[in-house]
């Protein structure tokens, strides 16, 4: 309106529309269709179920709106509200322990010259291979009523907060370790040289240089540990005993008592802290930019005998403890009757004796995890590509990038019950999906969408933004350039996403526990049900089958990277 209008010097042009839009070619329609498809997927798989959960919390069992009555009932039931404090307690305690141990371990790996760093690191990340039930099962063997090391608890029971905290520390340790290793390895040697030149003591350098440098990493690690421990279901299910936490409450309300509205309320209570930690992480990540500039000099630790030995001792104890946890389940799975008859046997692996699904649950897991990995990688990477490089539907593209972040804040359990409410609703035309393998695939993909999406869009942001423009000028359709250039250039990241989705789909149980049927039961769910039925040795065996499989996949991944991928990556060499 306030633009200075000049009299056009040329002959007046034909009336031009106020907002000029390019006409859509075939390519644009295909691209818009793709964006629309990914948008619809995220809305159906993430947004609408959560909405259904939210609505359910304000309804009674008959589906009538009752305002805050459910919340009033919840908060006036001490046995339920006690779980909030229990959950916060075990989550906080395990966070403090994990972050402390993780920091020492990460410091040892990155800032000292202790021996066997590679071995120690490999041992320390093994918990990532297993479902969260595994540490709990091991704890039962070690410290349970017939446990070898029961005496170390001085009469306390492993069933309860002690067991939950120990299990969560094991389960969250690798996640914390990886974050802290990254944070600690991004150190600028020049800062330490400056401190040295100024005659600063080591202790003071640690407090004024090292700690401030990793403070964002520490916050991220603490938030991740807290969220994982708070929302995890597997450990508390196996070793929680009568100590109720939010995660087991959701399960009891929905599966045990069929009280869906109360389940929804507990779900929302569980969602609140998870959402809060999600926002904290986002905030921290925004401030964490450019710790290391191009001019920084990477710090390489110098040998220092005393320090290196101390860290080696401490880290060895931690790594040994982790190995013991995994080893216990592995060992127990081959034992006839712990601790009375230690003869080796394969009977525990004959799952048909303890579970009607037998080995089928394992093949179900393989089918489910492969589908999530293959379909998921295509959807996530294709979706991220369309969001980053697409030209049409800007609002929907923005909505996709926001929706893609949401699952990170939603605990698996909460997403699981949200699916029940949404897909079981009589008016939902998608109700036929309930009870099928497809719903497990959709749910698992939605649950782990965020991490996969973030790695895809990070790599795509690094790809030159003009490839699409160049290919348009050369009259090459965008999908051809996507297939011939973008995908090959991003191949290592695509493989990352594939392995990540497969491994997480294999080990997760928390949301599937609400969605499986006897026909679609997965191995991780079977661990819980077999343990529930009292067959702990078989539960250990099933958990170990998952560990063997994820270990095999990671091993295969390494081989592919070393030998297969190299052939396609010749262009990276100078």
């Amino acid at each position: 309106m306030n633009q200075s209008v000049r009299v056009p010097s040329l002959a007046p042009a034909a009336r031009t529309p106020r907002r000029l839009r390019l006409s859509m070619g075939r390519e644009d329609w295909i691209m818009a269709g793709g964006i629309l498809a990914v948008g619809v997927f995220l809305i159906v798989a993430v947004a609408l179920p959560l909405l259904a959960l939210f609505v359910k919390a304000f309804e009674n069992r008959a589906g009538e709106f009752v305002g805050l009555a459910n919340f009033a009932a919840y908060f006036s039931t001490p046995s339920l509200t006690q779980s909030i404090w229990n959950s916060l307690f075990v989550a906080s305690a395990s966070t403090v322990i994990t972050v402390t141990l993780g920091f020492v371990f990460a410091y040892g790996l990155t800032r000292t010259c202790m021996p066997l760093r590679g071995v120690l690191r490999a041992l320390a990340v093994t918990p990532i291979l297993s479902p969260s039930m595994l540490p709990a099962i091991s704890l039962v063997y070690l410290f349970g009523n017939k446990g070898f090391a029961k005496g170390l608890l001085f009469g306390n029971s492993i069933y309860g907060p002690i067991g939950i905290i120990m299990g969560e520390v094991y389960y969250t340790f690798p996640h914390v370790l990886l974050i802290l290793v990254t944070a600690l390895s991004m150190a600028d040697a020049r800062l330490y040289e400056a401190a040295d030149a100024l005659g600063t003591s080591r202790w003071r350098t640690f407090w004024t240089v090292t700690l401030p440098g990793v403070r964002y990493g520490l916050v991220s690690a603490a938030v991740v540990a807290f969220t994982l421990a708070l929302t995890d279901f597997g450990v508390a299910k196996v070793v929680g005993g009568r100590f109720n936490v939010l995660a087991t409450d959701v399960y009891k309300q929905v599966i045990g008592q069929k009280n869906f509205p109360m389940g929804a309320v507990v779900g929302l209570v569980l969602l609140a802290p998870a959402l809060l930690s999600f926002l904290v992480t986002r905030h921290v990540q925004k401030r964490q930019k450019a710790q290391l500039s191009a001019r920084s000099v990477l710090l390489t630790p110098q040998p220092q005998k005393g320090r290196d030995l101390v860290f080696f001792a401490v880290c060895s104890v931690i790594a040994l403890a982790i190995a013991t946890m995994l080893g216990t389940s592995a060992f127990a799975s081959f034992i006839k009757l712990w601790p009375y008859d230690l003869t080796l046997t394969l009977t525990n692996y004959d799952f048909s004796l303890v579970d009607s699904s037998g080995w089928t649950s394992y093949t179900n897991s393989l089918v489910m995890a492969s589908s999530v990995a293959v379909i998921g990688t295509a959807v996530v990477f294709g979706g991220a590509y369309l969001v980053e490089k697409g030209r049409s539907l800007p609002l929907l593209r923005h909505a996709i990038s926001v929706l893609a972040l949401l699952p990170l804040a939603v605990p698996g359990l909460v997403l699981g019950i949200a699916y029940i409410f949404f897909f079981n609703h009589p008016a939902n035309p998608l109700g036929f999906l309930m009870g099928t393998m497809a719903i497990l695939v959709i749910n698992t993909l939605a649950h782990y969408y965020t991490v996969a999406h973030l790695s895809a869009s990070t790599i795509l942001k690094q790809v030159d933004g003009e490839y699409e423009a160049v290919s348009a000028s050369l009259k090459v359709p965008f999908w051809r350039t996507f297939a011939l250039v973008t995908v090959p250039v991003c191949l290592p990241t695509i493989l990352d996403i594939l392995v990540y989705l497969f491994a997480t789909a294999l080990t997760t149980a928390s949301s599937l526990i609400f969605l499986y049927t006897p026909d679609t039961k997965t191995a991780s769910v079977a661990v819980i049900s077999i343990d529930d039925a009292g067959n702990i040795a078989s539960a250990a065996a099933m958990a170990m089958v998952i560990v063997y499989t994820s270990a095999a996949v990671r091993g295969l991944d390494l081989l592919v990277r070393r030998f297969g991928l190299a052939r396609f990556q010749r262009w990276r060499q100078r």
């Binding site: 000049r6 070619g25 003009e466 490839y467 423009a469 348009a472 100078r574």
Partner: protein
């Protein structure tokens, strides 16, 4: 308007406007480019030159206005349906394809038989002197070689229009000089209508048939390099293209201007105005004549001398003109005769009919 021997208009832009939010990147830009012309869009960063180029390509379409290419209205066509080849500042070479595969990328998609593609790729590679590097990947090529692959790729489909977006700015000075000649040579041989975006005036002056000087989303002036240098129409043009001294002055009734009370007879650029109206006078450094002290002129003191190879650049303080910083370029022989040194006294003279007069606005920040 069209003179009989002049080639026809190939690209016609009418009233192009583009804004990003409240920022007006282009305001009502109109321009015609003839077939076979080499045109540079020149201007400081943020002037809208790249925005205009991207609008022509359809990559960031204008909000309003009409673009005609070869008699066809392309205003609303997506990039894939327009006829252009483009070279970006980043080159945007496909890193996983060899130089030959990059150049032949568009041909392969068209279903051209393999041996024809090979022949065409080799022909283009010869044109840009890249023949022996065809089997290499972009990461194995130098910046200048990568740039030439991008150029060959843009030419592969024989487009009617070649768009170059700051193609030389990522290269070091020597390679730049070399590639400048190479681009000119390619243009001469193919006769393709070419638009190049640059912020480097030297590049624009040496390469273009015509320069489109832009500033703040509007065209300041369109003209041949010599027109732009000799007869800048605005103070911005005078400041951005070539070096200029700006002196404050006032118009006088007799058509001359007064600088610090001293009358000067200006050349082109003088506009009718009210007597006593404040103006600024622009002098190119080579228009300032220096003579030995006492030989006639305004007494001046040398405050700085720079040796620039083919000439001396002398900074003077001229009290009569009220000017503490007047830059003059002096040929080496004369520089020696005057014994130029800091503190030396000389006489400075402004010949009649060379100075240019502009309304008093501060020259925009010029490079």
């Amino acid at each position: 308007m069209t003179a009989p021997e002049e080639p026809p208009v190939y690209l016609r832009l009418q009233n192009i406007s583009k804004h990003f939010g409240t920022f007006h990147a282009l305001r009502d830009v109109s321009l015609s480019i003839r077939k076979g012309e080499f045109v540079c869009f020149l201007g400081p960063s943020g002037c809208g030159k790249t925005t205009l180029l991207r609008a022509i390509a359809g990559l960031d379409p204008q909000n309003s206005g009409r673009i005609e290419q070869d008699g066809r209205d392309i205003s609303r066509l997506p990039p894939a349906q327009r006829d252009f080849g483009i070279v970006f500042q980043s080159y945007a070479l496909f890193p996983n394809l060899t130089a030959a595969e990059n150049i032949g990328y568009g041909l392969r998609n068209r279903g051209v038989p393999g041996h024809e593609i090979r022949a065409r790729v080799e022909q283009l590679a010869t044109l840009v002197h890249l023949y022996e590097h065809l089997h290499k990947y972009p990461s194995q090529l130098s910046g200048g070689q990568q740039q030439r692959v991008a150029l060959a790729r843009a030419l592969a489909l024989s487009p009617g229009l070649l768009l170059l977006d700051e193609p030389l700015s990522a290269l070091d000075a020597q390679v730049r000089q070399f590639l400048r000649r190479e681009i000119k040579e390619v243009h001469r041989r193919l006769g393709i209508t070419t638009i190049m975006v640059t912020h480097d005036q030297e590049e624009a002056l040496t390469l273009s048939d015509r320069i489109v000087l832009m500033n703040r989303g509007v065209i300041e002036q369109v003209g041949t390099p010599t027109e732009l240098y000799r007869t800048p129409r605005t103070a911005f043009a005078a400041a951005f293209v070539g070096q200029s001294n700006f002196l404050p002055g006032r118009l006088r009734a007799d058509g001359t201007v007064a600088v610090n009370g001293v009358p000067l007879r200006p050349g082109v650029g003088v506009q009718a105005g009210m007597p006593d109206e404040p103006v600024q006078i622009c002098l190119r450094p080579e228009q300032v004549e220096l003579r030995p002290a006492g030989a006639g002129g305004y007494p001046a003191q040398v405050t700085d001398v720079e040796f620039c190879g083919s000439f001396w650049r002398v900074t003077l303080s001229v009290e009569a003109l009220g000017c503490r910083r007047l830059v003059a370029d002096v040929p080496p022989a004369l520089g020696g005769a005057l014994a130029l040194a800091e503190g030396a006294a000389v006489d400075a003279l402004v010949p009649d009919g060379v100075a240019q007069v502009f309304p008093e606005v501060f020259p925009e920040a010029a490079a």
